[in-house]
Symmetry: C2
Subunit: 445 residues, 2 copies
């Protein structure tokens, strides 16, 4: 009725108000203003031009370099090394150390990671970690600076190309504010980045084997394109491709392809559940070279206090998702009818029904009456054997008296139930399967 | 007490008598006599000399041939082909067609399979199928001619080398007795086997490319050793190595290594559950060339009525075993205490306890009081934030009022429960998580 409808609507409104009152994100989104949506008429004012130019131009510069520069194997090797060094600066440095504090590092290691991380040209660690902490704190909401719900283009690179419509959600970075090395890198970021990303590779390849051009185009630009998109994939691909072995409330997913592409940051479902864990994945075959590197740092005394989430809680998450999956699988299967779904008849009625010449073949086994008409001709034990049990109680025969049927046969039988027999047919205890006939008589003495 | 003990023993005896009375296998084992165990003093009388000599000598003959015969690529190719042809005679013929009737075959195909099967020198199809049907009917018991419970040596080859201590269990082979092709092969078995296993390969390789010696040693003997042990592995390895995705009442197991070694008979757990199914495995990546062959036979009109077990029942078996596994996994995890395990205190008592300066940090969330003393310093949100909630009700804060904690945080929290708060703290409805804050504001219009 309309009155009930109105009442129900009013309750929903009340619920919504309560929710907003009690939820930080909802409240913040309502109270903070946002910039208007980007349209075809205003887009050029909403572009972050420095970042957009760098990111959109670099692949073309790299391509140009590819087509106009000869290869020297030394440069190729150095390009790979530089890819890993600057990449690890982001994964082991910016991400697991500075953003998540998943381990502790000596001053030396901090400066090393900050320097190589600068070569990945992803902003200062201060800026990067602040945004990343908001990403974890407000995952999938509008306070998440690279929310996957805004689409793969946006979460991959769009958020850097356009000016964000909102500030990212509040995140506590007081520890970073007080860190000398972080502040040093933040103050000197532009020069550091320019030097590590372009100047150093060019000079290194030039001075050592005379390949300035290759040093710039390959170890510099091309390498940077790959480092950039490796990291970007952690925000796009890792929130899209794969499964959710630990929790499926949000978008992060686990996948080995993502791992290969991102220097081992591909088990993102694990990571968002256990962000302070220094590992991205647990099994030895799950690609996580960053974890290996951190363990190596510990071995040589540069790192300590490698944080791990309690194993029990990790397994709990795994169990819960596996249970959810399995329950879903169980729903897709058709199960037998139970007592409550079937009519109750007496043994005598059962015998009467069996005598009727109506083509139906009924057999009583373990308290249920089964219509085996469609099965009797394909019975592996033969038709005659079942025929002889029509109108009788075949419990013992079915449970080993004649043949100890396997589980599949029991399951098949249960699907043929049509009634329950009062007082259950033969007594319960005959249904027990005892194991001692499995013990063989020894043949060798 | 001794009287209770005697009473209990008497009941067990009664149970055992009932069991034997109602179980065909138990009764048969008691009533049928068996030969005495094999000892060091009587073993030479208990050996099946013809079979033992063939099986124990052939590998040495093959080795001798390997070291004294030069290789011709044509012979090598033919050896491989002959391995597959005679092997398929066993798998597609003896096993899936004649023993299990998993499909129907034209007369032509039957004769072809019987002929190649003879080349595998494993007895006539009549004899082979009769034993195999007993294997399925009495799996793992003493009526199983190659029972896995007698050890891997016995189930692999020992049962052929020694005279069995018992007849195999009764198995119905009236259909085979009436089959013309089966009887023809049975009558002419020895000549057929000798011809297909040794004469034909020798002559073929000799007449076509002059390699009589290679034809005999490689395509004949060496090939036979491999065919023999491929099949033997289905009785030894397949009842030992791998997992039980469908049922674990008995020894059969699934494993891809077994599949590779046995021409696709390696998914033995599936097979024993669904023996009349013409497939040994379901997935495309599970090695089962025999299944492919049978499908091919159907394509060219030589086979028909390829039997499949109902998919629902196959999935049911899968589900049940997966559920069993998962339940076991769940047992290995430590779960939180529930209401019934915890003391009940009032909100006022909680506040009093919190005021005490005993170093304990207590926080009330969602009706439970938690001791967070050991956690407060490693809280990702910081110590102060939790400190401010000691002695208060932090439900709303924890559920999104301050931070919408992830599932792992909820699980961790639950492990810290020490008491239940009367009247549950904040009302139930505030615990609901609503999803609408995930809906993003579009940034592109
Ligand atoms: C009424 C429903 C029945 C169903 C659905 C059923 C189902 C099956 C199935 C699936 C098998 C082959 C699987 C296995 O190896 O265990 C089988 C075998 C057999 N069944 Fe039944 N059965 C039924 C009743 C009976 C009864 C009442 C008897 C005996 C009185 C019987 C005697 C046998 C025998 C002797 C075999 C062994 C055949 C062989 O492996 O050679 N079955 N049955
Ligand atoms: C009492 C037991 C508590 C436990 C076991 C706990 C646990 C956690 C865990 C595991 C995280 C990180 C995982 C995530 O991203 O969700 C976290 C983050 C956080 N918690 Fe708690 N928490 C507790 C209480 C509180 C309370 C009472 C508050 C607020 C009043 C709070 C505020 C926060 C905040 C703001 C964060 C976000 C930190 C960040 O990502 O920067 N926590 N908490
Ligand atoms: Fe993420
Ligand atoms: Fe992260
Ligand atoms: Fe078997
Ligand atoms: Fe079989």
């Amino acid at each position: 009725t309309t009155e009930q409808q109105q009442q129900s609507n009013k309750l929903n409104e009340q619920d919504e108000e309560d929710f907003i009152k009690n939820n930080y994100v909802a409240r913040t989104l309502l109270n903070e203003s946002q910039l208007p949506p980007i349209t075809w008429s205003n887009w050029y004012r909403e572009v972050n031009w420095p970042q957009a130019i760098l990111l959109c131009l670099e692949p073309f510069v790299a391509l140009y370099g590819l087509f106009t520069t000869s290869f020297m194997w030394q440069t190729t090797v150095f390009t790979l090394i530089w890819y890993f060094l600057t990449g690890f600066g982001i994964t082991a440095g910016y991400h697991r150390l500075f953003a998540h504090r998943a381990y502790e590092a000596t001053k030396t290691l901090r400066y090393i990671l900050l320097t190589f991380g600068a070569g990945a040209v992803q902003g200062s660690a201060q800026w990067w970690a602040r945004g990343h902490r908001a990403h974890h704190r407000y995952t999938d909401t509008d306070l998440d600076p690279y929310s996957a719900h805004k689409g793969m283009f946006y979460s991959h690179i769009g958020w850097l190309i356009f000016k964000p419509r909102r500030k990212p959600g509040v995140a506590d970075v007081t520890d970073l504010n007080r860190d000398q090395s972080i502040q040093w890198q933040h103050r000197n970021y532009l020069s550091l980045a320019f030097f590590m990303a372009f100047v150093f590779p060019t000079l290194f390849c030039g001075l050592l084997w005379g390949d300035y051009r290759g040093g710039y185009f390959f170890a510099g630009v091309l390498r940077l394109v790959f480092v950039h998109h490796s990291t970007f994939c952690v925000n796009s691909l890792a929130h899209y491709l794969g499964d959710a072995p630990f929790d499926d409330r949000h978008t992060p997913r686990d996948h080995y392809i993502t791992a290969l592409v991102t220097l081992g940051e591909g088990y993102h479902n694990f990571h968002h559940e256990f962000p302070s864990d220094y590992r991205n994945a647990l099994k030895w075959f799950q690609y996580d070279p960053t974890k290996m590197l951190i363990k190596f740092f510990k071995r040589i005394g540069l790192a300590s206090n490698l944080k791990e989430f309690p194993q029990n809680e990790i397994q709990k998450g795994r169990y819960t998702m596996a249970r959810k999956d399995l329950d879903q699988f169980g729903q897709s299967i058709t199960w037998p009818k139970t007592n409550t779904d079937l009519p109750l008849i007496s043994f005598e009625e059962y015998q009467q029904l069996s005598k009727k010449n109506d083509g139906r073949a009924l057999v009583l086994i373990a308290g249920f009456i089964h219509d085996v008409s469609n099965f009797i001709d394909s019975h592996p034990g033969g038709r005659a054997i079942i025929q002889s049990q029509i109108g009788k109680d075949a419990t013992v025969a079915f449970y080993g008296g004649v043949h100890d049927h396997n589980t599949a046969a029991h399951n098949m039988l249960a699907m043929m139930r049509v009634a329950v027999c009062k007082y259950g047919g033969e007594v319960e205890h005959l249904k027990r399967r005892l194991g001692h006939i499995q013990t063989p008589t020894p043949i060798f003495a």
